[in-house]
């Protein structure tokens, strides 16, 4: 094994890794953990863990429903987290930030709002929904359900051979009948950055709403919902150093005012009689019941943590690593990258196949050497079908990943090849 190269643009990972105690863990007794499953979920820095335990140790109470000290502190912390998230995504208003339990819930929430909506937003028979072939199942199934329930037609953008959206025929795909276009900003399986401007423009032309799944973007790059010009943006806390159980749906104020609630309960009402109720304004209208309070506070701490490092710096770091990783992987005989073959316009999530060794076997032998990757279809089975493969091995990097970990992966894969030779 040779010493890892000095790449330009890298973060000070020695310092950053001190914030993530789990990265020092040994696995299978003797191997240093090489955690390359960040697209599934990221590790959490002590700052976030401290925010969670600090909240429970000193401030725990239910929110928005008490006059005592703890209730006020808990409310201030929960709403403070909303402010932080709003600033993080450059939302025009904090009231446009809805807390959910994860990105899946955010996307299901939008689909259900549109199913129950009045004109002009209502998705119904003779209208169309447009998605893409590279969506996570969380951005496919809610739309299939909506389509099945309403009779609306579900259409999608296909993919090119090198893992990008095939934008030919955008005009035929997004038409006057289209009510909503929902697509991912960054592919969770291939890492592809999608050029959404032309799609947004076309959607605006025909008056369709645009929903962006930013689950794989929010952790890795500056996210500006105003620049995106979307109507809804969904993402999930646990992939961006936050805890599980907290997600975000940002929506344009005017839409949130007009669209109907989905879940009913405490917190989301204004007044209730036995006959009917009126609803609180957004965001509370969409947050029925006791919310994930500690988790929101944890996400606020994660946003602070990422912001202090700088999202642009994080993106630069990951780009440098991707360039290095793509190069090293392509030197491995029999390795085929599924997705963009260069570091251009793609993130640090790299899927590949290795000869005809099944990804399950690849993952198992890597794990034995301490290298944690994900294997399977990554909740994006249509992508595997598109490229005629049963599954892939996916390595995904983050702000604490190092060139030495890229080397560990590449060396590990050599070992896999020998093992199954």
């Amino acid at each position: 094994m040779t010493a890892s190269p000095q790449l330009s643009g890298l973060l000070d990972t020695d310092a950053i890794r001190k914030d993530f105690p789990i990265l020092d863990r040994l696995v299978h007794e003797e191997h240093k953990l090489v955690y390359l499953d960040n697209a599934a979920t990221s590790q959490k820095p002590t700052q976030v863990l401290d925010a969670l335990s600090g909240y429970y140790e000193r401030h725990n109470a239910n929110v928005h429903r008490g006059v005592h000290v703890l209730a006020e502190e808990a409310t201030a912390l929960y709403e403070g987290a909303r402010d932080k998230v709003a600033a993080f995504i450059n939302a025009p208003s904090r009231d446009e930030v809805i807390f959910t339990k994860n990105a899946s819930e955010s996307l299901n929430l939008v689909a259900n709002m549109l199913g129950w909506a009045d004109e002009p937003y209502r998705v119904e028979r003779d209208t169309e929904i447009v998605i893409t072939e590279m969506e996570h199942h969380s951005n496919i199934v809610p739309w299939q359900l909506l389509s099945q329930r309403t009779g609306a037609k579900l259409k999608w953008f296909g993919l090119t051979d090198d893992g990008r959206l095939d934008l030919t025929g955008t005009e035929q795909l997004i038409t006057e009948k289209t009510k909503v276009v929902s697509l991912t900003l960054v592919s969770n399986i291939m890492g592809t950055f999608n050029p959404i401007e032309s799609i947004v423009r076309r959607a605006q032309e025909v008056g369709a709403l645009v929903v962006i799944d930013a689950s794989q973007a929010a952790p890795h790059m500056a996210l500006d919902v105003q620049a995106l010009q979307a109507d809804f943006v969904a993402f999930t806390g646990h992939k961006m150093c936050g805890p599980t159980g907290i997600g975000v749906l940002w929506g344009r104020q005017e839409l949130l005012n007009d669209l109907p609630p989905f879940l009913g309960g405490g917190e989301m009402i204004e007044t209730v009689t036995m006959n009917s109720s009126t609803y609180a304004p957004a965001p509370h209208k969409f947050e029925a019941g006791t919310p994930p309070i500690a988790q929101a506070v944890g996400l606020g701490a994660a946003v602070d943590y990422l912001t202090a490092i700088g999202m642009d710096r994080i993106q630069e770091h990951e780009h440098a690593l991707t360039e290095y990783a793509v190069g090293r992987l392509q030197d491995i005989p029999g390795l085929r990258i599924i997705g963009p073959p260069t570091a251009e316009d793609r993130g640090a999530t790299i899927s590949f196949t290795l000869g005809d060794i099944h990804p399950h076997d690849v993952g198992q032998v890597l794990d034995e050497q301490g290298v944690a990757v994900r294997v399977g279809h990554h909740c994006a089975r249509p992508v595997c079908l598109r490229y005629g493969i049963p599954a892939t091995t996916r390595a995904s990097f983050y702000l604490y990943s190092t060139p030495a970990e890229v080397d560990a992966l590449a060396d590990g894969l050599e070992h896999v090849r020998n093992f199954f030779a």
Binding site: H28, H358, P359, H360, D361, Q364, V365, E368, V375, G376, H377, R381, C384, P390, A391, F419, F420
Partner: protein, 165 residues
């Protein structure tokens, strides 16, 4: 190394040189998938009375699932159904043992090469791979044996397509 307990030589041999692979005539055909990893198998059974004349299969998947199908073919073809059921149940017990079951002589005689999978039972994520073809065989056999059995199953508890140990 611990891995060797999973990837026994026998298993790797079956994986590299599968026995009885390919689809041939059968009385019933099933298609099973393992939804978490995308392993798939299409499996056919052919019976002559109660005797298993052939188990043919085609599929894609990891070494464990492929080797397991190969071992199944070796073990079950030529057996009487009752004997085959005993083997299947014993294999299931072994795979669900979480590595705690030390196969005794009776089990070794019954399972032959399949005892090599004992190590796999320590890896919960891989148990499903090892069981894929066995669950498919069980399902195909149920279908091959008469409308009556299949019909009652369809009314009550339909056989699931997903293999859960």
């Amino acid at each position: 190394m611990k891995l060797d307990s999973m990837y026994q030589e026998v298993i790797l041999d079956h994986y590299k040189h599968p026995h009885g692979r390919g689809l041939r005539d059968g009385d019933a055909e099933v298609h099973h998938v393992n939804p978490t990893c995308g392993d798939e198998i299409t499996l056919r059974v052919r019976y002559e009375g109660d005797t298993i004349r052939d188990v043919s299969y085609e599929g894609q998947g990891c070494s464990i699932s492929q080797a397991s199908a190969s071992v199944l073919n070796d073990l079950l073809v030529g057996k009487e159904l009752s004997e085959a059921r005993k083997i299947q149940e014993s294999f299931l017990e072994l795979m669900q043992s979480r590595g705690r079951l030390e196969p005794d002589d009776t089990m070794e005689d019954l399972l032959e090469d399949a005892v090599a999978f004992a190590g796999v039972s320590k890896y919960p994520a891989r148990v499903k791979c090892a069981l894929l073809s066995w669950m498919a065989w069980k399902d195909a056999t149920a279908q091959a044996f008469g409308e009556a059995e299949a019909a009652t199953q369809a009314l009550g508890d339909p056989p699931t397509k997903e293999t859960t140990p």
